[in-house]
């Protein structure tokens, strides 16, 4: 340890780390966030039975040629109820919103939709959560935007906020061009 800089090295390392920790604390990054590797990749191929009698199946083939917003929801999930009005408004403005009813009994989901309104163009039933795993779900609600080529363009692992809704509208408009 004869050379002088070796004695300064620990100090430099410590200051570097200190600055780094300060940044990590203040940047408010959550180490919990998983990220969304599906973005930019083709949407997973699923084929789900409809929730409503006589409704259409929700299948990957429907995502060709149209921009779709796919929203995973359940009646037992409180945040779903919070974001629901935003989806209603989106559907009213002509955005194609599709639902995946996640691990939910149809007899619970139907009255819930009857009470809050049904924004979904079609609803697939994911009774055992298989479609959830296909989509890399970590909880409900989660929302995906899929473009006309069937590529996932956006994935939000959280209940929608009004800002998120704005962003989705803008993106849908952009992709529909």
């Amino acid at each position: 340890m004869s050379s002088r800089w070796l004695f300064v090295l620990p100090l430099l390392m410590a200051l570097l780390l200190g600055g780094f920790f300060g940044y990590a604390l203040l940047a408010g990054r959550s180490p919990e966030e998983i990220g969304s590797p599906l973005v930019g990749k083709p949407a997973p191929s699923i084929d789900l039975a409809p929730l409503h009698e006589g409704g259409k199946r929700l299948a990957a083939a429907d995502w060709r040629g149209q921009v779709s917003v796919v929203n995973f929801f359940a009646s037992w999930c409180a945040p779903c109820q919070v974001e629901h009005p935003l989806l209603m408004r989106m559907a009213r403005d002509g955005v194609r919103v599709q639902g995946v009813n996640y691990k939910n009994k149809p007899e619970d989901a139907k009255p819930w939709l009857a009470r809050l309104g049904d924004p979904y163009e079609r609803i697939g039933v994911d009774a055992d959560g298989k479609a959830g795993v296909e989509f890399g779900l970590s909880g409900v609600p989660e929302t995906f935007v899929i473009d006309r080529a069937g590529i996932v363009r956006l994935h939000l692992r959280r209940p929608l906020t009004p800002d998120d809704a704005q962003r989705i509208r803008a993106l849908v408009k952009e992709l529909a061009k």
């Binding site: 055992d128 959560g129 795993v133 890399g136």
Partner: protein, 152 residues
Amino acid sequence: MILLALLAAPALAVEPDEVLADKALEKRAREISAEIRCVVCQNQSIDDSNAEIARDMRRAIRERLTRGDSDDAVVAFLRARYGDYILLRPPFDPRTWLLWLGPPLLLLFVGRLLYRRARARAALVADAPRELTAAERRRLDALLREDETDRQ
């Protein structure tokens, strides 16, 4: 001696209804599960986790194995959907070189440095006067005694 203890969660990871009849497949499933991180818990593998989603992932793993997928294919399937986040063993690529190679390289580099310095200084040690061993001491005494007798 019976110890009683508390548990954090009511349910417990792998449930009996998940277990595959095929022992070899089940073993592979458990091994894969131990390497996949649960996405809603803190630092648990899906093998240890009680979360619903972890259970779904365990089921997906078993389903794919039963269908005949290789272990790598099963892991790739999950990785494509959840990202590198779920690999408890981080992949080896330029981003993680420091993590994987840092410690062994540090060991080699510092070890070599220390050894060479010690070697350089060992020469000094060798030149330093040292204690006589017991055998040498006896021989010296004997020689000295011979000297004595010679002189007489």
